[in-house]
Symmetry: C2
Subunit: 677 residues, 2 copies
Amino acid sequence: MGVRDVSKRILLGRKLRSSQLGETLLPKKIALPVFASDALSSVAYAPDEIFIMLSLAGVSAYTWSWKVGIAVAIIMTAVVASYRQTVHAYPSGGGDYEVASVNLGRTAGTTVASALLVDYVLTVAVSISSGAQYAAAALPFLSGHEPLAASAMVIILMSLNLRGIRESGTFFAVPTYLFMVAVLGMCGIGLLQLLTGNLPRVASADLTILPDPGFDGALTTMGLLILLARAFSSGCAALTGVEAISNGVPAFRKPKSRNAATTLLLLGLIAISMMMSVIVLAQQMGVRYVDPTEIDRLIQADGTPVPEGFRQDALMAQIAEGIFRDFPPGFYFVVVMTGLILVLAANTAFNGFPVLGSILAQDGFAPRALGSRGDRLAFSNGIVFLAAMAIVLILAFDAQPTRLIQLYIVGVFVSFNLSQLGMIRHWTRLLRSERDPAARRRMLRSRAINTVGLSLTAVVLVIILVTKFLEGAWITILAMGFFFALMRKIRRHYDSVAEELAAEETDKILPTRVHAIVLVSKLHKPTLRALAFAKATRPNVLEGVYVSSDARETAALLAAWEQRNFGVPLKVLHSPYRELVKPIVEYATEIRRANPRGVVAVYIPEYVVGRWWEQLLHNQTALRLKGRLLFAPGVMVISVPYQLRSSRIAKEKVMREGKRVQPGDLRRGRADEPSRR
Amino acid sequence: MGVRDVSKRILLGRKLRSSQLGETLLPKKIALPVFASDALSSVAYAPDEIFIMLSLAGVSAYTWSWKVGIAVAIIMTAVVASYRQTVHAYPSGGGDYEVASVNLGRTAGTTVASALLVDYVLTVAVSISSGAQYAAAALPFLSGHEPLAASAMVIILMSLNLRGIRESGTFFAVPTYLFMVAVLGMCGIGLLQLLTGNLPRVASADLTILPDPGFDGALTTMGLLILLARAFSSGCAALTGVEAISNGVPAFRKPKSRNAATTLLLLGLIAISMMMSVIVLAQQMGVRYVDPTEIDRLIQADGTPVPEGFRQDALMAQIAEGIFRDFPPGFYFVVVMTGLILVLAANTAFNGFPVLGSILAQDGFAPRALGSRGDRLAFSNGIVFLAAMAIVLILAFDAQPTRLIQLYIVGVFVSFNLSQLGMIRHWTRLLRSERDPAARRRMLRSRAINTVGLSLTAVVLVIILVTKFLEGAWITILAMGFFFALMRKIRRHYDSVAEELAAEETDKILPTRVHAIVLVSKLHKPTLRALAFAKATRPNVLEGVYVSSDARETAALLAAWEQRNFGVPLKVLHSPYRELVKPIVEYATEIRRANPRGVVAVYIPEYVVGRWWEQLLHNQTALRLKGRLLFAPGVMVISVPYQLRSSRIAKEKVMREGKRVQPGDLRRGRADEPSRR
């Protein structure tokens, strides 16, 4: 670190402290857990899906499990290699959405965005449902109440994120590394036992599986192909979350892209080792695992199906139970860490959503309020929406990961495909102008990687569409269509407004005169302040306006006005039925009509109070009046605030609010972690 | 009508038409039904209560019924006579509240207001519960579902009033006169039959009543007194609603007070005739009527109690059934008109509430927004509150008028007493200065009337408190206490604010300079308009302010700004994390700090759009910014609206809204009835 860097760091440190919310860039060892929880957590359910699909043809089909696993690992390798290109080419954090928008146009970009939105909902639903399964393995009393437990967990996560949970490196690092230790440790022990021939059998090893009627008897080649295709496409659930790093490049330390690419590689290696180890161990330990909705296909030694209410634990829970049969703490460690990582994975959706929302807002595809940090209300609505949709899915699909995964992977592979197609275009475009042979070689190599990636993921997408469409993928596609249409509609609205508002030369014409009116309800400090401010702007005409509904009060006010000798006339508008808004609006409209090239400035003295119930007692009429005056052309409305003593309370609340952390801050490279500065 | 009157009428007519909502004063024949429905409707339940209370001592006690009735009639006469004084002395429509406030001070006034608020809730609950009883008599399938039917009816009434139901003379006149025809007609026929000895017996005449254990055996004098006191205090429910006219004097044609007094007299005569006829007929026709919660005290001829689920119809329904046994349309006519008048009575509460709210608001006892016509939101909240409280009472007391009446009459008699005490003070005060013997005689007579009224109603109040306190009156007193405390708290808040805001001489000091900043997000029409308006006010300093979070966009904007050559500098505030509000607030605060005697004018270009979802897409940041700037001292916020084409939609909606009728319009002498102009 040179002297300049040191001084920069010192300055930066100062600046951060003063602004209370600083920028903290993540070293690789922290970035890995921050972005990996989603991808790594899929080892908790993806191998299970492979075994469920193969079980359709009975236990004998389990011999295919590791081959299917290798196929998934190959896809994962290709995808990781592709994204390593993306983080170099698009380091701004726009990820798949940016790649698709820039290279393939608005339609592709919006499609990717729709897929991502749907995937955020499904990440929550799948991760929490799977987490509920692990929770039930550790806490048997939860068994049978998974949908309820999962919904409760989503509500807890939502509340934490609404309150503004501080995502920090430590927050992720500790559980993620412990999870790795747990899973890799368990697998290491298991593989060692396998080599020494001491590998125990799991509890379900004594059962047999009744094949599904469709796969009964000897498998035809076609039947086998269909079976493997289904197992493979389900296993591809392991790839969900791999793209997260491409959205988080700005949060990495420099050299950002290189560090992100290295982290991605590490992530891929760990994910593949975990998945393959779990598959091999499960098969070797004699796991019997069927679709939980067809639990009666599990046959006991005496030839009868397992009893009603039989609990089929997740694959990793079964393996942990076998390996740690004599050491229960080991079992609990694996299960608890798995449950925790699944909750973290769900939480990433709550953090990724605002980031995506803000990018979409900048491009005019989402309400603009999402584009600026600090609009807690807009983000809160998003968080509540995300949680509500996830709960709907959890309850509709009974918190069964197997059924939710049918919906999940379509969206993921839609973005994989569009993003890689976009990358190929990207390199092709660059190659057109690039002359340096070394650079051209690198680009050609990158394009080759993306092409391989695209061809593989395209095949996978077709397989998924064919095998999953009727199983639930149609719901995802419908939902994507909805978001797509909504974003297009919002963008069209902004476009048409922009067109309507495009500036013309005539817009520079200045109003010829300013006629200012100050609303007077009483002669108190707020009115005097409004009057003083209005006077200070030296309008061409200045008058007070009072709406009178009581002759006595009016006379008293007029007398007081005279006595104070403001040098400003007071106009009295009569309103026998105590209507306040209408007379003022009509008067302002009248002034403007008499002088169409002038402008009317309406000064409204406003009370600033601190407590919510005080708000109810004040300013309601001012609020309504402003709402109405907005429709009058040539009228501007000036709020002259008068801060009452109690306004301190509200001010302090607003200040506190501004300092609160928002979901997504960490992955935008924005966090407040004094410990690591 | 003189020429001047005619021309005035013509002018007035024109003016009314142009303002769409005019003043229509009520002739006596229309005013009677408008204000009488509440008072007259009590004949539907008050006599029933007398019979229920007497039944405690068995059928033999029914011989006292007409004597109790006469006692109630005497009180009614005294009260009517008293209120005839009130309408002359306080013709402004403030009613009991005004009388108590002016003559007895703020505490008494607030007490009356609390009593009236509670009574509005109970008017709805009692009238609709009684109406449900009549509905069940006509439609037997409703029997047993009265609470549900009553709650549904309250919700319907609430919705109609939220939408803005047009209270009109006809609306009241037709059903009220038909109700009078029905009841007086029925009673006439019955009394004729009585004279000719053909009066039929009611269905329940064959039953006997098991006396309540407490009144078993021969009655002691004390026991009889207690019994009669309870019957009398329940019968006083007939007086509810009599005070309505004193709140409606402004709606009468001239001479307002005289017409109101005459109408009041008519109302008293009709109410007394109805009540006495019903009592006499009920007794002569052999009615057996017990508390519906003790229905098993009704004994059949064979000595067993009436079967489970026996429906005990209201008194008037039983009489109508007897008299019109051979002419069912007569029975249905009486029952339907009674049900209808009860609904109208409930509706008067929805109309009286806003009137009271607006008077309280003018005196600072209720949120000020209630004081100005047209704040639909505030009134809507009140209407929903009224309906919700009434439904709570209906459900809590099982829609049984008998139980609700225990709560009802306390409040009524609290206001009677305070108002009459106030009137005595009023006359005493006037007598002190009055020298004209004729006038003094009139005043002395009036004071005598009010004194008699007070002594009678004071006795009644004591009887009510003694006999009803534990039966439910404590709830009313508790609720009154709550409203009383709330109103005091609101008033104290307004007082302390007024004190904090009282103007001082120093408040006239003018700011020395105006530093105007125009927020620039893009260079479009709204920005140009804001810039033009700001320029027109010729501030000492004027600059555009742009919050930059993207270097490219900033450069483009700066170039466009240069090119347009506004002659206004553009200040760029950097905000790498897309925070918009904070930099602007900080900049404004900084300007002010540099020049504490100046004022900062922040011009915000605002979009005016028409549809609710367009609102979500625009102005959210402007809104937040304004909210934050209010806390900065020395800053004024100027909204410069730019009306987009779609704003027409919202404007039209606002205009329609302004024309809508509001509950209470009619009784404030404000209505739109072209047919009677």
